[in-house]
Every structure is written in C-alpha cells, then in structure tokens.
C-alpha cells in the first residue's frame, strides 16, 4: 500500500479511536458506553492491521469486540442499569480525574519524545541493545551470539512490513508462541481456568446461614 495512504489511515483511525474512547467516558447510558467501546476497539484493531499485526487485529475484533463486549452488554441489560445521575460534588471528582489524566498523558508523551536515541532519530530499543555492553558487560561468547542489527529510525518512518511468500504473520507468531513461550502459554491457560473458576465461585448464590 502507498505509505502516504497508510499514514493518513493511521491518523484517521487514531482520531476515531480517541473520539469513541471519550464517548465511553462521557456518555451517561452504560449501553452507549459499551457500544462506544466496541467502536474504539474496532478502530484499534484497524491500527493493528495497519501496523502489520494481522493476527492481533483479528483476535482483538473477535475476543474484545465480539466476546467481552457482548458479555458486558449482557450484564448491563441483565442488571437493568439506569443512567448515571450527576450527584452533588461530582464535579470535584471530574476535575481530579481530568488533572490526573492530563498529567499522565503529558508524562508519557514527553517520555516518548525523550527516549534514548530519540534525538538521534533511532529506535530506543536498538540504542539500549547497542549500549547493553556498557550497562551490563557480557562475555565474548554471548556477545557473538547477539544479533547485529542496524538501528531503526525513531523520529522517522517505521520499517514497512513485507512478508515473504511462504511465511505469514500467523505462522510466525504461532512458531514463536509454541516454541519459545510454550511454558508461558501453559501457565496462562491455568490463569484462565482460575479466572473461570473464580467467576463461578463469586457468582453463585450465597447461602444465608
């Protein structure tokens, strides 16, 4: 795809995602908030597609916008939640929330603009890898195995994603997931099982005795 079109699409999707995220916070009705969240997650999935993470984008659409949002909507409708009425003294919380959120945004943004190597227009991770020897010295054997990679641009363009014919995003991600992170995914499955059991245990009716 044309890089200029990709950049324009990123800004359009980012604007849409931020707008619908504001909708989640600002809308009174929880159902409108949930639908706005679905919009926001779909926009973020589109940004994932643009960044070349196709599998993550599809997983985002299916897991978040499909499963989790439907579950939340189900609970909202089951509990028959009313619109939030503005209470006395609520503006105080609003001011505190806006101030803390603004400080957080400013801090992270300024950190993103001042990351190591940002002034040289290089990817901060690459700079950290290059200077790893000064930070924690390694033996010569380990040093030889470290990949020598050219630094990517930080202030400039991101490297474009171009898969070879016989490789796809899903197969590469799956290879990484089921070889290097095999044990982690087993532990993760236990965490999911614990979550399901916990949900059942918390959700069952309490006996009054």
């Amino acid at each position: 795809m044309n890089p200029a079109i990709q950049a324009i699409l990123f800004y359009v999707f980012a604007f849409g995602a931020l707008l619908s995220a504001l909708g989640v916070v600002a809308l009174r009705n929880p159902v409108s908030s949930a639908l706005s969240l679905a919009c926001c997650l779909a926009f973020v999935a589109a940004i994932f597609f643009g960044a070349g993470a196709t599998f993550l984008g599809i997983a985002q659409l299916i897991i978040y916008a499909g499963a989790i949002l439907v579950l939340i909507l189900f609970i909202v409708m089951m509990l028959n939640v009313k619109d939030e009425q503005p209470a006395a003294g609520h503006w105080c919380y609003c001011i505190v929330g806006v101030v803390i959120a603004g400080m957080m945004a400013g801090t992270i943004s300024s950190a993103a603009l001042r990351l190591p190597g940002a002034t040289g227009g290089r990817c901060p991770v690459h700079v950290l890898i290059e200077h790893a020897n000064e930070l924690c010295p390694v033996s010569g054997e380990e040093q030889a195995t470290q990949p020598q990679t050219p630094p990517a641009e930080y202030g400039g363009m991101l490297p474009s994603i171009s898969m070879k014919d016989h490789e796809s995003d899903v197969s590469l991600l799956g290879k990484r997931l089921f070889t290097h992170y095999n044990m982690s995914i087993v532990i993760l499955s236990f965490a999911l099982l614990a979550g399901a059991l916990g949900a059942v245990a918390v959700g069952r009716k309490l006996r009054r005795d």
Partner: protein, 105 residues
C-alpha cells in the same frame, strides 16, 4: 508512514482517557470498560515497538506474544469482574461505586 513516537503518543492519550474515566465514573461497569481501554492502549504501544524493532519486513514477535497474553488476561479479568459486579448488585441493589462505603461507616 508514521513514526514510532506518534504510536506511543496515541497510546498515551488512550491510556489517560481510560484512567480519567476510571477516576471520574461511578458506575462500576463503566470503570471496567475503562480498564479495558487502558489494557488496549498498552497493546498499541507493544505492537508499535514490535514493528519498530523488526528487520527485513518481519516484526519482532515477542511483543505481539506479550500483547496476546495481555488480551487473554483481560478476558479472565472481565469474567471475574463481571461476576463481582453481579454479586455486588445482589448485595447492594445497584452498581454505583459510591454505595460501597461499609468500611468507612
């Protein structure tokens, strides 16, 4: 093409909208949605770094695996959180966080 810093700033803005919502809103369901927003913002920066580090058109997949783990944990979190909200509704007849003051009183 977009520089990495714009992805990071977008992620920061999304995260702070979620944080502000979690502070401002009283409806516990909306607070849970704002938590989802914050997790998604973290995923955006992970994906951006995975692409920025990539070589010869192939992104670094460690970051995407981490983003996948974040998604799975978010699913578990939503399951437990919604069960807690249903339990809270049974006990208090409402989902307002202002009704949870029994420790204070």
């Amino acid at each position: 093409m977009t520089p990495l810093s714009h992805y990071l700033i977008f992620s920061a803005l999304l995260f702070s909208i979620g944080l502000g919502g979690a502070i401002m809103r009283r409806n516990v369901l909306v607070v849970l949605m704002c938590l989802e927003l914050m997790l998604t913002a973290a995923n955006v920066s992970l994906v951006a770094f995975s692409r920025a580090q990539g070589l010869e058109g192939v992104p670094v997949y460690d970051a995407q695996v981490l983003a996948l783990f974040v998604m799975a944990i978010a699913a578990a979190e939503v399951a437990v959180g919604l069960a807690l909200i249903v339990a809270m509704f049974r006990a208090r007849r409402g989902v307002e966080s202002t009704s949870l003051t029994s420790l204070k009183d």
